[in-house]
């Protein structure tokens, strides 16, 4: 008897679902977060307390960085103005609480997308805006050109981080002898490495590049090509508001796809007359892309015009011409040999 009831109930649920999808058709319903954001007039964005090139403030108090640009893109899409973002600096420990307690609505704070975070603690990860990974820096004078030359070295590392664990795993799996030299603060690690207390310095590659500029002679050091861990970083939203998560996910997607299709902040308007339907869709000249997110037709055009495509954001904040000086590496477009691959905006 109980079973039949259960079956009946699931059947009913399926009908209800089909019915719901049928009536909703294409147009998505604006979620609660979207409504609140529009009412308040700004996007509540959680950033770091300062990670060079990812989220940092300049001397006039404006936030810049590729993590910051994701939030600005969301603001451009939702509110029509990339400047309408309120940034909340968060420590690593409190970032998820801030998101869950609705202190912020988007967390863009170089957060690694892992199974336990995605599945376990009520978060939704919305794509990857930077593929990071742990690497090693050595002096050029050491003659080491690959991680296979790291047998018997002393390694400077931050204590109590996944970086330290990754390093142990790496050396143990290779069967290399090594001597960890641990410190509490990143600045201490860099100072120790600079003064020659250890042969190699290991942290995420984005960090290595930024820290290298602090060394007394940056040109005397190289970052080894291998990456020993995967750290896909991306924007995070609360579970439970699909519409809002979709907006964040597709705002990031638009930036990445715009670069792939050659649309930049300066040529976006001119691209409206392009022959390529993919381009026309992205600049709002064709299709109904906004309706699926409960946004207007020009949402993606505004992102590209106000924030720029992913490549522009990258070059501006962490690219080779900036002090951070990161080459594209895995963060190049898939057509250029990287792994950056935006899902089609259609």
């Amino acid at each position: 008897m109980k079973k039949t009831l259960k079956h009946l109930f699931s059947l009913f649920a399926v009908f209800a679902l089909v019915f719901a999808i049928g009536t909703e058709a294409m147009a998505a319903k604006a979620g609660k977060t979207l409504k609140n954001t529009k009412k308040k007039g700004f996007v509540k964005c959680g950033v770091s307390q300062g990670v060079p090139g990812f989220s940092n403030a300049d001397a006039s108090g404006n936030w810049t960085g590729i993590d910051v640009d994701v939030c600005r893109a969301v603001a451009a899409a939702v509110l029509g103005d990339a400047g309408k973002v309120k940034f909340t600096p968060l420590s690593a420990k409190e970032r998820f609480t801030a998101l869950k307690s609705k202190e912020i609505d988007v967390l863009s704070r170089n957060t690694t997308w892992t199974l336990s975070r995605d599945g376990g603690i009520g978060l939704t990860f919305n794509g990857v805006n930077f593929y990071d990974g742990q690497g090693f820096m050595v002096t050029k004078a050491s003659g080491i050109t690959s991680v296979n030359g790291l047998n018997g070295v002393s390694a400077c590392v931050n204590i109590g981080t996944t970086t330290e664990l990754n390093m142990r795993d790496f050396f143990n799996s290779k069967g290399f002898k090594y001597e960890p030299v641990v410190f509490e603060q990143a600045d201490e690690v860099v100072a120790a490495y600079d003064s020659g207390r250890c042969d190699t310095y290991t942290t995420d590659k984005s960090g290595l590049a930024a820290q290298r500029t602090k060394l007394s002679d940056p040109t005397a050091h190289v970052v080894l090509p291998e990456t020993i861990s995967k750290e896909p970083l991306g924007p995070v939203t609360r579970e439970g508001d699909e519409n809002w998560s979709d907006i964040v996910r597709w705002s990031l997607n638009v930036m990445i796809e715009a670069e792939e299709l050659g649309i930049t902040s300066s040529n976006a308007d001119a691209m409206k007359t392009s022959e390529n339907p993919a381009i026309k869709r992205l600049v709002g000249a064709e299709g109904e892309t906004g309706a699926a997110l409960a946004l207007d037709q020009e949402w993606s055009l505004r992102i590209i015009k106000q924030v720029g495509n992913y490549g522009e954001s990258y070059e501006r904040n962490v690219g080779p011409d900036t002090p951070v000086g990161l080459s594209r590496g895995p963060n190049a477009q898939w057509i250029n040999g990287g792994i950056l691959y935006a899902n089609p905006t259609r």
Binding site: G50, P52, F87, K93, S101
Partner: protein
């Protein structure tokens, strides 16, 4: 005319009186010669003061351009620049009323102290945080001062805001707890003991984590208590427990005769404490109170762990700007200097109070 002979005599008796004193003197002189000139070179002679970008820093000395360029941000945090006058005004009012209170008659001073404790905190919040007449039912919204979220408060001004609020509130709470702990009513006595021992038993960093990470999860739905407020309340309660024990030390130092004398004059509990006991007890513990306040001031950088960018946090944020990487040492030296100046002033001020309130015969 310097008397060479006298110097010789003096050093003979004070520096080289026997072999181990001579050795220690020589080591110290050597250390001075070895370390002081390079330090001065780094701090001043080789340092760069003029300029506006990292590229203008040359030589091996410190690059004070970093501090110069970021100075305003280090003081005011990310507070909107055109609104900074509000912070200035709030602190001017504070400084003005403190200074006048030193020079006026005690009768007027009483009013200034009442103003400082009961009016100023709210006036300051109103000035710095902004204010609007907001009657939702009538849809009236008149912004009088532009609202500025606590999220952009920062720098040295935030350090002061936290320290001043925590000091203002932890002091009275501490006195009440101290009296409560010595109360003869068991309910009051034991709840005071439990409170004090609980807050003294946990590290401040745990309190801050609870306030910023756990507390919001217990709140229902959309309610959100401001993060800064949560932290200030946490610090206040934490320091109040310490203050209570300091004050209790003073209460216990008073001879029983003082209590008996007050009672024999027909005074009630509150009268006795307010007029006889506390004035004497607090005078005794001025060094302890100053100690707690200085510790509190130096504890404020801990709020860094909850993402509030007070003075030290702003220095770190400034150092994370790609154009200004690699100036951590300058930043920390500057921070240390500033903290030392304020803590030393507090210490001197407390010594002045000790002398002023001293009723002992000399």
């Amino acid at each position: 005319m310097i008397n060479i002979n006298k110097i010789y005599q003096w050093s003979r008796t004070n520096l080289f009186s026997n072999w181990y004193n001579s050795l220690l003197s020589l080591i110290i002189v050597f250390a001075f010669i070895k370390f002081i000139p390079p330090l001065l070179n780094w701090l001043f002679f080789d340092a760069t003061f003029r300029g506006s970008s990292k590229a203008e820093c040359y030589g091996d000395g410190a690059c004070w351009i970093f501090i110069k360029v970021w100075f305003q941000k280090l003081i005011y945090g990310l507070y909107p620049e055109n609104q900074v006058w509000r912070i200035n005004l709030a602190f001017l009012i504070l400084i003005f009323s403190v200074i006048t209170s030193i020079f006026v008659k005690p009768t007027i001073r009483r009013y200034i102290i009442i103003f400082l404790i009961f009016v100023f905190p709210f006036l300051a919040i109103w000035l710095i945080g902004g204010f609007a007449i907001d009657i939702e039912s009538l849809e009236i919204y008149i912004p009088i001062l532009e609202e500025v979220d606590t999220r952009v408060w920062g720098g040295l001004s935030l350090t002061f805001i936290i320290a001043i609020f925590a000091m203002l509130f932890c002091f009275p709470i501490g006195i009440i707890l101290a009296l409560g702990r010595r109360s003869e009513l068991p309910a009051i006595k034991y709840s005071s003991i439990v409170f004090i021992e609980f807050w003294r038993g946990v590290p401040l960093i745990t309190v801050l984590f609870m306030a910023s990470v756990m507390f919001p999860l217990f709140l229902p739905g959309d309610t959100n208590v401001d993060k800064l407020m949560r932290c200030v309340i946490g610090i206040t309660l934490f320091e109040a427990a310490y203050m209570a024990e300091v004050v209790r030390g003073g209460l216990q130092a008073l001879p029983r005769g003082q209590y008996d004398a007050a009672k024999s004059l027909g005074m009630g509990y509150w009268q006795m404490n307010a007029l006889i006991i506390l004035p004497q007890a607090l005078k005794i513990v001025i060094p302890g109170i100053a100690n707690t306040f200085i510790a509190l001031f130096k504890d404020t950088p801990l709020i860094l762990v909850v993402g509030l960018l007070e003075f030290l946090g702003m220095i770190k944020l400034a150092g994370a700007n790609p154009d200004w990487l690699g100036f951590a040492v300058e930043g920390y030296v500057f921070a240390a200097t500033v903290y030392w100046i304020f803590c030393f002033s507090m210490s001197r001020y407390s010594q002045r109070l000790e002398i002023r309130f001293s009723t002992e015969r000399k």
